[in-house]
């Protein structure tokens, strides 16, 4: 996926997907250094699922498009290997199956992923399906990884623990959205 390390500096990837109803899905991938300065930016041309895909993929459509198609394409375009890829779109966690770095969800503040490991279990009924997402804390941040890659928590803590207190993990997504808007307007 990635060709080379970015010298000895920390590189963090930020991935998001924006849905423009009239155009389709745009993906944006921004790689920053530990000072929050941009190193690389990649964005996709828009894609729109066909009606057949919407029906046949059903609930797997979003993970397929966000993670497998858009995320994997963007990750492959990058020259810098990040220590982790952060995303604000839960379906993009599916990218983890195709890359060898942790993929972490930065949930919206105040919101929570319904499937995170703080589900309520009942004693008088069958247990719900085991949570497919695992939440953990890193400094002031609450982050989520796929339960199938729960071991990524340690890797993320080791890589980003040093900057967690000073780095705003949500802010770069704003930049990506503005950049995609610029790219969309510029053609």
């Amino acid at each position: 996926m990635h060709v080379s390390d970015a010298k000895s500096n920390l590189a963090i990837g930020f991935l998001t997907v924006i849905d423009y109803p009239e155009h389709g899905l745009f993906g944006g991938y921004l790689i920053l250094n530990q000072l929050s300065r941009p190193l690389e930016f990649h964005c996709t041309t828009p894609i729109k699922p066909t009606r057949a895909q919407q029906i046949l993929y059903g609930p797997t459509l979003q993970p397929y498009l966000y993670g497998e198609q858009i995320g994997r394409t963007l990750a492959a375009s990058a020259k810098t290997r990040p220590v982790a890829v952060l995303t604000d779109r839960e379906p993009a966690l599916a990218l983890r199956e195709f890359v060898d770095v942790p993929v972490v969800l930065v949930p919206e503040q105040g919101g929570s992923s319904a499937d995170a490991n703080d589900a309520v279990y009942r004693i008088d009924a069958a247990h719900p399906t085991p949570a497919r997402l695992t939440a953990f804390s890193l400094g002031p941040h609450r982050l989520i990884v796929p339960s199938s890659s729960a071991a990524d928590r340690e890797a993320v803590a080791a890589a980003l623990g040093g900057i967690a207190d000073s780095f705003d993990f949500r802010e770069p997504f704003e930049r990506i959205r503005e950049a995609i808007e610029e790219a969309r307007r510029g053609g």
Binding site: S36, P38, L56, A179
Partner: protein, 623 residues
């Protein structure tokens, strides 16, 4: 049919003895066991079981005898072959566009090696706002636009480089820096007192640290050179600043020095050294950024100053002025003739001109940034004496100190007062020539704020000074308010100042008081000379500033460096700091802080004699 008779009885089965298990009538169960003997063999009665049967016609026999008819019907079970509709699941073709940015950390490296030692570092400011950079409208290429859009906030950029500030800038100042930083061409036209200097210094500081500029030229009016030096020391202490000055040979050498990040020159030198600037082949006179302060100085494109400015080799240009249009839109044309020659035409309609310059000019007024500003903004204008003032001052001080020394023990505090007052008056005006660096600065500031429609108060402790100012500031319609104005006239003066738009300046003495002044019409206060006691100054300002009045007040305090004024100010400042440190938590107003006798004598490095007669309470000796 007869019933078969083979039914055996319980007795026949020899079970007669088993009985009485239940005595139906008694309701009690009891078991009686009797003796048992094998049962008798039963009687066998033989009967003929051959049953006679008669056949009677039911029709069944024919039916039973009939051969079944078996029909075979072929039934197709295959059915129609269903139509198959194949739905191709094509993976979408996704193309990605990539943009790479040079590694800024490697590019920046360490701060400049020749940086002068910085003052003691302060904690980086954690600002509440996050100001984002926006690409200017004239940046067309997507990659260039993305370079700005994808940068972190300005505050993060500065924090990451550990660039500290003595105090946090206001939000609108961050926006001003964000406006200047990405622009090749810009005019910062904020109203006077909003900190244009600070914004320009911070923006060029960012450019220097980002490696986007290596050589900067600052041009300002001569009286403001000291002010710029001071502001640099406050806002960018790590950046070396070279002031172009001295004789021609020295200036030529200074102009041609190649590795100086920032050079500071005045407009007069631009004109005088035009030949050096045009003729030099070295990189010392090629500038990545030229900043013109008070850029209305070049509004007349035919003037020598304007022509000299246009001769400077430069890449980026920023102009600063509080009055981009002093008299007519052509003033702006003149400034743009330097920034972007040919961009504006003198005959352009004002509306079309406004649209054309929209992205290049940033102007905020105090009203617009009201929410950010405190009620009172203090700024110190540090000035140098004019040559004639310096000559007179030096002579007066030397002679005065000599005379005090000769008095020996008979010297009194009164003698010292007289010398102090004399020197302070020279700091205001040279008695022989009338030259005044304070007046030069005051005129420049009044021009700017008058063009913005504002009014000002000017305080002095001497009525004579106020009257000299009245004569020299006629074009601003000055009014006087001091002891020589009769009480009957004072109300009329105030009304005229309030209502007449041509009356821009009110000249007031510190002693005038007891009447509230409406500062809604005077948002600028100038302290032409300082009082001994800062509390008196505060009182003067507060009398004029009514609580609840709208609009912040900008107070400019003039101070001439290397003179008695500076020494007095230093002592008072130390006393204020000491009081604040000791009584930081105490409520209530600060008591009067003045100079003691010893301190007054120390102004001239004289010992206070034991026989010095106190003329007043020592604490209030200079109050």
């Amino acid at each position: 049919m007869e019933e078969p008779k083979s039914r055996a009885s319980m007795g026949d089965l020899g079970l007669a003895g088993i009985g009485g298990l239940c005595a139906p009538d008694s309701g009690a169960a009891s078991i009686a066991v009797r003796s048992w003997r094998p049962p008798q063999a039963p009687n066998v009665v033989a009967e003929n079981l051959a049953l006679g049967a008669a056949v009677f016609p039911t029709g069944w026999n024919r039916a039973v005898a009939r051969q079944p008819e078996i029909k075979a019907i072929r039934q197709e079970t295959k059915g129609e072959t269903p139509r198959v509709v194949s739905v191709p699941i094509r993976h979408p073709v996704i193309r990605a566009r990539s943009f790479l940015f040079p590694d800024p950390v490697a590019q920046l490296g360490a701060p400049p090696a020749h940086a002068s030692p910085a003052p003691a570092p302060q904690a980086p400011i954690k600002p509440a706002s996050r100001t984002r950079l926006k690409p200017p409208a004239d940046v067309i290429k997507l990659a260039d636009r993305l370079r700005y859009v994808l940068q972190p906030s300005l505050e993060t950029l500065l924090e990451s480089r550990s660039l500290t500030f003595p105090f946090a800038p206001f939000a609108y100042q961050w926006e001003g820096v964000a406006f200047l930083y990405p622009r090749q061409t810009a005019i910062l036209a904020d109203e006077m007192g909003l900190g244009k200097t600070m914004q320009a210094i911070t923006a060029l500081r960012l450019l220097l640290h980002a490696g986007e500029a290596n050589r900067v030229l600052l041009v300002c009016p001569k009286p403001l050179v000291t002010n710029w030096q001071r502001e640099f020391h406050v806002w960018a202490p790590e950046i070396p600043l070279l002031v172009i000055e001295g004789d021609q040979a020295r200036r030529r050498w200074q102009w041609e020095l190649p590795d100086v990040p920032v050079k500071l020159a005045n407009y007069e030198l631009l004109h005088r050294d035009r030949e050096i600037l045009e003729g030099s082949q070295g990189s010392g006179t090629d500038f990545d950024l030229v900043i013109l302060d008070e850029s209305q100085r070049i509004k007349n494109r035919l003037s020598a100053t304007s022509q000299a400015a246009r001769a400077i080799r430069r890449r980026r240009v920023w102009a600063m002025t509080g009055t981009p249009i002093e008299n007519s839109p052509d003033d702006l044309v003149g400034i743009f003739d330097f920034l972007m020659p040919g961009y504006l035409a003198p005959s352009m309609a004002p509306r079309r001109m406004a649209r054309a310059v929209g992205d290049y000019v940033l102007r905020r007024t105090k009203d617009q940034v009201l929410a950010d500003l405190p009620p009172k903004l203090f700024r110190d204008a540090e000035l140098e004496l004019t040559p004639s003032q310096r000559e007179t001052y030096t002579l007066a001080e030397e002679e005065g100190v000599l005379r005090l020394t000769e008095l020996g023990d008979s010297v009194t505090i009164q003698h010292v007062f007289e010398l102090v007052l004399r020197l302070k008056q020279i700091c205001n005006f040279d008695p022989a020539t009338g030259d005044s660096s304070k007046l030069e600065r005051l005129e420049a500031d009044l021009e700017e704020l008058a063009a913005s429609g504002r009014k000002a108060l000017v305080f002095s402790q001497w009525v004579d000074t106020l009257q000299r100012l009245r004569d020299r500031l006629q074009r601003f319609g000055p009014l006087e308010f001091h002891g020589r104005v009769s009480p009957r006239q004072r109300e009329a003066v105030l009304r005229q100042f309030r209502e007449d738009p041509d009356r821009r300046v009110l000249l007031i003495s510190y002693g005038a008081g007891g009447v509230g002044l409406n500062l809604q019409f005077a948002s600028y206060v100038f302290l032409f000379d300082r009082w001994w006691n800062p509390a008196i100054e505060d009182q003067a300002i507060n009398r004029a500033h009514r609580i609840g009045s709208s609009g912040p007040v900008t107070v400019t305090r003039f101070l001439v460096v290397d003179t008695i004024e500076e020494r007095i100010d230093r002592i008072l400042q130390e006393k204020r700091e000491l009081f604040d440190t000791v009584f930081a938590s105490a409520a209530g107003p600060r008591p009067k802080i003045g100079l003691t006798q010893q301190q007054i004598f120390s102004l001239f490095e004289l010992k206070c004699p034991a026989s010095a007669v106190p003329s007043a309470d020592p604490r209030g000796a200079a109050a």
